[in-house]
Amino acid sequence: MEFKEVVGRRRSIRYFQSWRRVEREKIQTMLEAARLASCAVNATFLKAIVVERSQLDRQTLDALKTPVSALNIELAPVHIYTYIDTQAFVGAQGRLRTLVDVGALNATHGWSHKFVDEFVWPNILKPLADNATQAQTVAAAASDAGNAICQAMLAGVDEGLGVCLSAFVPDPIKKVVNPPDHWLPLWVLLVGYPAESWEGGGQRPRPPLDEQFFEGKYGNGFKADPAVTERLKAAKMIQAPAPLPWRKQEIQALARMFGLPE
């Protein structure tokens, strides 16, 4: 699938084929996509643990549901529990030196081993590493983890899977997957083949471009060029908006199939 179409097709899928196993290679593809995401100081803030729902006992499964995520968690055959690694700064000095060695950080931009060792590490990164749970550090780490999760989601869509980020109750799953104490729980990325059509009823409503993005200064909305919009429609990045005409009938059919309330 072309990249723009992958972006256009992604939806939060909330009905999964609960009975259909997801191929391990597809999960690996998603994890590889996350691994290759942009990350500050080459620190891998995102950590994740893949769990097949069928491996969880009923008590654990029920305990980790939040009121709004219960059904998603129940239906998705694969759960990827994501965490922020608050100690990801540890080792950043060595990783930055490696980036200098491989030609990613260069003298053209002021980078050198000496700059890493004598300025960046002691003055910037070490204080962050020493105060890993302060709000600014966590916000930066969450942003990078979000980048990585997003790439995993898009890779999943490209593999024909449905994906949905959901909240989860961390303690019950902690007993099962045993993450280190310095990992902060983030989201569970639910994965499976969609039981609803991939359109998910249509592209979700979003504000116009110029309400969300600005040019030059705040208040000066970024104006969309209609020709570009048409090109993105042709590339299937901008798709038919929700609701598609048959969406309510689709939900009724899904409710009957799964035994859910209308």
Partner: protein, 123 residues
Amino acid sequence: MTPIAILKKPLEDYESVQNWFKGLKEQSGVEEPANEPWRLALLGEFCGYLNLDPDGVVKACLLIKEGRQTKISVKGRRKMVEAVAEFQARRDTSDSRERARRGNTIRSFLIHNGILLQSGMQV
């Protein structure tokens, strides 16, 4: 107690029932809920089971304090979830879909009155 003994007016005249039918029509694509009398019949049976009228069923899930924002009561909601599950299981039938319909009809009534319930697959 039968629903008739509890109710002070026809079921469809209760605000919560009107909310339910409005939600079914506008959000769930049900053309005319009033044309499907089994919904009201099941709600009436549930009201009799709890000895509450429909508005009372909704109120039992809420935490209402004067001068404060009304909230969903964790305890009340949990009790109601259990009551719906019991009500669903009461029907002596081997047809799991029929049992699910009993419970899901009441869940639908509560959901369209703003009481979040996710009870999972029932069949």
